[in-house]
């Protein structure tokens, strides 16, 4: 190997600084969430304790944190499943031109770039004007899909752009029905990317704020609850909550990465060539 150029070290230093910038604040509030009972929102630490975490688990803490966590979790799973199913179907459909396909494509792009407050406001208006009660599982659910679906679809487009079609043709030649072809040939090949789509679906929903603001009704999701806390909580309890949800996000991301790694390994062990259907 040739020696590294001097620019490598400069860029490596820059990259390290970038990571510090990216993670530094998160690590800081993680440390501060262990403040002693008398500590404030900034350093110095006045002792080390689990006081603020205990506060979260006690009933008298502000609002309904655990209820909102449960709602966010259920909503995230709903959005995740829908995003995966609809993205796969959409991805399959977009392999051929169909009537309205370019309009639909531009709608997907619009959905991605539209300011989120417009979705919130528009969906909220439709619901209120037609006399329906806004609820996180109906209006909130739909509003979040406008954010997760474009990501799912863009991933699917990228996947199908690289998809080797001869595998499907082979299946058809062997007499597989269209459903069998999808179930036994297409889905196994694209499986790892589906895990990616699921990750996007869940985490983007779990953290979404703007689109749920006017569409979730009287029961808050977790980000809404946290935002409510920022205006009236001035103790490190908010850092404790932030640390916990970030830990939860990391756990979810780690879980998804682990599943990807595990499926890859299983494939290799079984000598499966499912992953090779990409060109």
């Amino acid at each position: 190997m040739e020696p590294r150029p001097r620019s490598f070290y400069a860029l490596a230093a820059f990259f390290t600084l970038f990571l510090v910038f990216l993670y530094g604040p998160t690590i800081t509030i993680a440390v501060l969430s262990f403040q002693g009972p008398g500590g404030g929102l900034t350093f110095p630490m006045r002792g080390v304790s689990l006081h603020w975490f205990r506060d979260l688990f006690e009933q008298q803490a502000v609002g309904d944190i655990w209820g909102s966590f449960r709602r966010s979790l259920v909503l995230g799973l709903m959005v995740m499943v829908t995003t995966v199913v609809v993205s796969v179907m959409g991805g399959l459909a977009f392999r051929k031109r169909f009537k309205g396909s370019s309009i639909l494509f531009y709608l997907i792009i619009t959905s991605l770039v539209i300011p989120s407050i417009l979705i919130s406001l528009g969906v909220g208006l439709i619901w209120s004007q037609s006399g329906l009660p806004v609820h996180w599982s109906t209006s909130g659910f739909g509003a979040q899909l406008t954010w997760t679906l474009p990501f799912g679809l863009l991933i699917m487009f990228a996947v199908f752009n690289r998809f080797d079609r001869s595998y499907e043709e082979a299946a058809r030649d062997l007499g597989a029905s269209p459903w069998q072809t999808i179930r036994h040939v297409v889905l196994p090949i694209i499986a790892p990317s589906l895990i990616g789509v699921a990750l996007f679906g869940f985490t983007l929903s779990y953290d979404e704020f703007a689109r749920t603001l006017l569409t979730s009704g009287s029961y808050n999701t977790l980000p809404l609850e946290i935002f409510g806390m920022t205006t009236n909580v001035t103790t490190p309890v908010i850092f404790a909550l932030g640390t916990l949800t970030t830990m939860f996000s990391f756990l979810v991301i780690g879980l998804f990465l682990l599943i990807v790694w595990w499926t890859e390994r299983r494939r290799k062990r079984h000598g499966s060539d499912a992953g090779k259907g990409m060109v």
Partner: protein
């Protein structure tokens, strides 16, 4: 196969836009809104110089954030794509850059407080080094903190597409440039940057639209002291002035779509996936 997608987008994207356009012509009293067809909301909007100032401020946030995210994002992507040698490390470091995207934006904003506050880390460090005597007041709740948060939240929207296009550049092109006697800078300027343009454009679309449509970062990081268009809309919503919020939203949407329209002339998204 595309019908569930079409249905969802029809109900939750097209219908809300149509609804906002309709309501933007309605009237409002202090407590309720009523159907009408009047241009009052738009007249008021265009007649007030607050509107122009707020739109200008929105563009200011967008362009400054764009500049910083581009410079940082490009450098990071360049390092990952051309200086990290094994694919394993590239993937690992790339993941490290993208993980924050899957965590909560609000928490990432909150986490700046202990840094930037009056008694925060930045101020105490600067005081202990003797750079300043008094804590700086403009670190938190200012334009500075708003843009810092934007850059913090959205740089990875630049890193990902730029890295993606850079990974597809044929390495022999760079060798050819070196063999032809180009310096590192010349290769960067005449080979890598032109080939990375599609990625830069996609990143730009993300960053510009996210910043222009934002209301929560500005509200939180400026401590309600600065405004952008999103804040203006949110204010009206808070006062139950939905028609006037809708009119502002319509103008914002047109502005954003115009910006995107211009940017899309430089890149074919479907080819870049």
């Amino acid at each position: 196969m595309a019908s569930p997608l079409a249905l969802i987008l029809a109900v939750f994207l097209v219908a809300p836009i149509v609804m906002i356009v309709i309501v933007s012509f309605w009237g409002a009293t202090e407590f309720s809104i009523y159907p009408a067809f009047q241009f009052d909301n738009y007249e008021f909007l265009f007649g007030s110089d607050v509107t122009y100032r707020v739109f200008l401020n929105t563009f200011k946030y967008a362009s400054i954030t764009w500049l910083f995210t581009l410079l940082i994002g490009f450098t990071v992507a360049y390092f990952l794509a051309f200086h990290v040698r094994s694919l394993k490390w590239q993937v690992a470091l790339f993941l490290l850059c993208t993980i924050p995207f899957w965590t909560s934006n609000i928490i990432r904003m909150i986490s700046w407080i202990p840094f930037l506050g009056r008694n925060g880390l930045a101020n105490s460090a600067l005081i202990s080094w003797g750079v300043i005597d008094e804590p700086l007041e403009w670190l938190l709740f200012s334009d500075f903190s708003v843009i810092l948060a934007f850059v913090h939240l959205y740089t990875l929207f630049m890193v990902v597409p730029i890295f993606n296009t850079m990974m597809r550049i044929d390495k022999s092109l760079i060798e050819a440039a070196t063999d032809a006697g180009a310096t590192g800078w010349q290769t960067l300027w005449h080979v890598i940057i032109p080939l990375t343009k599609p990625g830069i454009m996609i990143g730009t679309i993300f960053v510009v639209t996210l910043v222009m449509g934002d209301f929560i970062t500005v509200r939180f990081m400026s401590g309600s002291q600065s405004a952008n268009v999103g804040r203006m809309i949110q204010n009206d919503i808070g006062l139950l002035q939905y028609p006037s919020a809708s009119a502002t939203a319509v103008i914002l949407l047109i502005t954003v779509l115009m910006v995107i329209g211009i940017l899309l002339r430089f890149v074919d998204i479907r080819r870049e996936l």
